[in-house]
């Protein structure tokens, strides 16, 4: 009999695992709770058959975890895995939202053979829904989108005889590839050289929190030269999720600009947010964001499950004299540069921040963490759908903001998961309103300078 093959965590998974490590009260959740709701009628018995086939095709759904010598390890099973899927019926929107937000906050017990929970549901408004709450070391957001898309395509095959979708890529192969990278000192060193230059060329960054300069001013009463604060907090980690859809008019201005100019959501939305946090932090032109980007390069990786997100430090100096358009060019060039080095592990670059700036494990110069979700109207193979995320309830990081195209409205929507002890709802309202104002102004007239846009926002 073959011995089970165990792998250590990849650098991308280790970054996520850090959040569990700093969960002092064991209430922290490191999972993705999400649903899609569709208009088209779904036969849930047939959908369950489709899910069984999906588990056979998607190797990340056959993962299990254990601890060896105190460290987490993972393995992939070739054997069929069956999930129990309750079918629920909701009468009101409130009942539906409350149910999923409550489930979102119950940890997935990854060491007790639970890697995901599924629910099928009759939505309160007559539509049909699929909910997944999956351990984040098993799937990242892109993997969740791939899962939904592939599941619906299999269902379509079973229902109508349409061709089966193309096979999915193997996450186990990605795990092997990522572990091979960290065991190749030459490649790691090459990336480290780029990061060393990145951290030294502009000196130490300065705090730019979404709540303004208050936390730094407080620290500076004792240490006037300090430029960072203790931003991560495993104790006061209660969090709320604010969801904010944009108006169709504002969405159209922004989406048209992105399409016409080939600008990614990652660059564009961040620029709007940077103008707000810059303005409220003494109009700093030096802003530091942590950006979560998918590391799916090849077609096989793009069509696979698994967790392979890079968490990248985007520190940029954008003087007020730059136009909106010039600032985006600068961001785009930076994106191209850092993407070439996105394999470099989070733990390694955090160690460099410790070496150069003296950061301890909880320290940072920013509250800003951002993702752009790559959802298109066509992502679910022609099915009209609505995507929803739910509130994790606790979060070690100060703020995780994400935005995406909203296939159900054709517009844009934003979400902000914020640790309430550090960042208030008013801070989030202000961030959101000013980000949208800045984006609408810049996309309407990209020759405006950043300074003039900062003057326009509150």
């Amino acid at each position: 009999m073959n011995e089970k093959q165990y792998y250590p965590l990849t650098p991308a998974q280790e970054m996520i695992y850090l959040m569990l490590k700093y969960s002092f009260f064991h209430k922290q959740v490191t999972q993705i709770p999400a649903s899609i709701i569709v208009k088209r009628k779904i036969d849930f018995d047939l959908l369950k058959k489709a899910l069984d086939i999906e588990v056979e095709r998607n190797d990340c759904l056959r993962m299990s975890f254990a601890k060896k010598h105190g460290k987490p390890v993972q393995s992939f099973s070739d054997k069929a895995v069956k999930f129990d899927v309750p079918v629920l019926t909701f009468k009101t929107k409130e009942e539906q939202e409350n149910y999923f937000n409550a489930d979102a906050q119950i940890p997935v017990k990854y060491l007790k053979n639970e890697i995901a929970r599924f629910r099928f549901f009759n939505s309160f408004d007559g539509r049909y829904g699929i909910y997944i709450n999956v351990f984040h070391l098993v799937m990242d957001a892109s993997a969740v989108f791939t899962f939904f898309s592939d599941l619906l395509a299999i269902y379509e095959h079973l229902e109508t005889g349409a061709p089966m979708p193309a096979p999915l890529g193997s996450f186990e192969e990605t795990v092997k590839k990522e572990l091979a990278y960290i065991n190749n000192p030459e490649r790691v060193k090459k990336d480290e050289e780029w990061f060393r230059e990145f951290y030294t060329k502009d000196g130490e960054p300065i705090w730019n929190g979404v709540q303004g300069p208050g936390p730094l001013d407080k620290v500076r009463k004792k240490k006037p030269d300090k430029k960072y604060v203790a931003a991560f907090d495993p104790i006061h980690d209660k969090a709320e999720l604010e969801k904010k859809p944009l108006s169709p008019e504002d969405s159209k201005i922004i989406l048209d600009f992105m399409e016409k100019n080939g600008i990614s959501g990652e660059c564009l939305v961040q620029l709007g947010m940077r103008l707000h946090v810059g303005k409220i932090n003494h109009r700093h032109d030096d802003t530091y964001f942590v950006v979560l980007c998918t590391r799916r390069r090849t077609l096989a990786e793009k069509r696979s499950g698994g967790s392979m997100t890079s968490i990248l430090p985007w520190r940029l100096i954008l003087p007020e004299t730059l136009t909106f358009s010039e600032a985006l060019d600068k961001m785009k060039a930076f994106q191209g540069d850092i993407f070439r080095h996105m394999d470099f592990p989070y733990n390694n670059y955090r160690a460099l921040e410790g070496e150069y700036f003296g950061y301890g494990p909880a320290d940072g110069s920013s509250t800003m963490m951002f993702s752009w979700f790559p959802l298109e109207n066509s992502t679910m193979n022609g099915w009209e759908y609505e995507f929803n995320g739910y509130n994790l309830g606790r979060y070690v990081m100060p703020l995780y903001s994400y935005s995406m195209k909203d296939a159900s409205s054709g517009g844009l929507k934003f979400a902000y998961l914020h640790r309430t002890a550090m960042i208030s709802k008013e801070d989030i309202d202000s961030l959101h309103d000013n980000t949208v104002k800045a984006l609408v102004a810049g996309c309407s007239n990209p020759d405006l300078t950043l300074g003039s846009i900062m003057d326009m926002i509150d």
Partner: protein, 74 residues
């Protein structure tokens, strides 16, 4: 060389290899995103042992221009 380029591009975008001709535009005909272009540049650097910075890759619009760049810099 066209065959090698086809192999590289097909790792990143879902296109019929026959559509990858010298005249094909990387962005509009082959639907390559900025990230795809960077990934292709990195694989071309490894395959042909040349340097292909992002700034140069941004100025390359067709498969034919990519082949010329490789021939000149090899």
């Amino acid at each position: 060389m066209l065959e090698q380029i086809r192999e590289v591009i097909c790792n990143y975008v879902d296109v019929d290899p026959e559509t990858i001709t010298a005249d094909a535009s990387l962005r509009s005909d082959l639907s390559m995103s900025s990230l795809d272009l960077i990934n292709v540049a990195v694989e071309i650097e490894d395959t042909f042992d040349i340097s292909l910075p992002n700034s140069d890759m941004q100025n390359i619009t067709t498969v034919g221009e990519l082949i010329t760049y490789i021939e000149v810099n090899k």
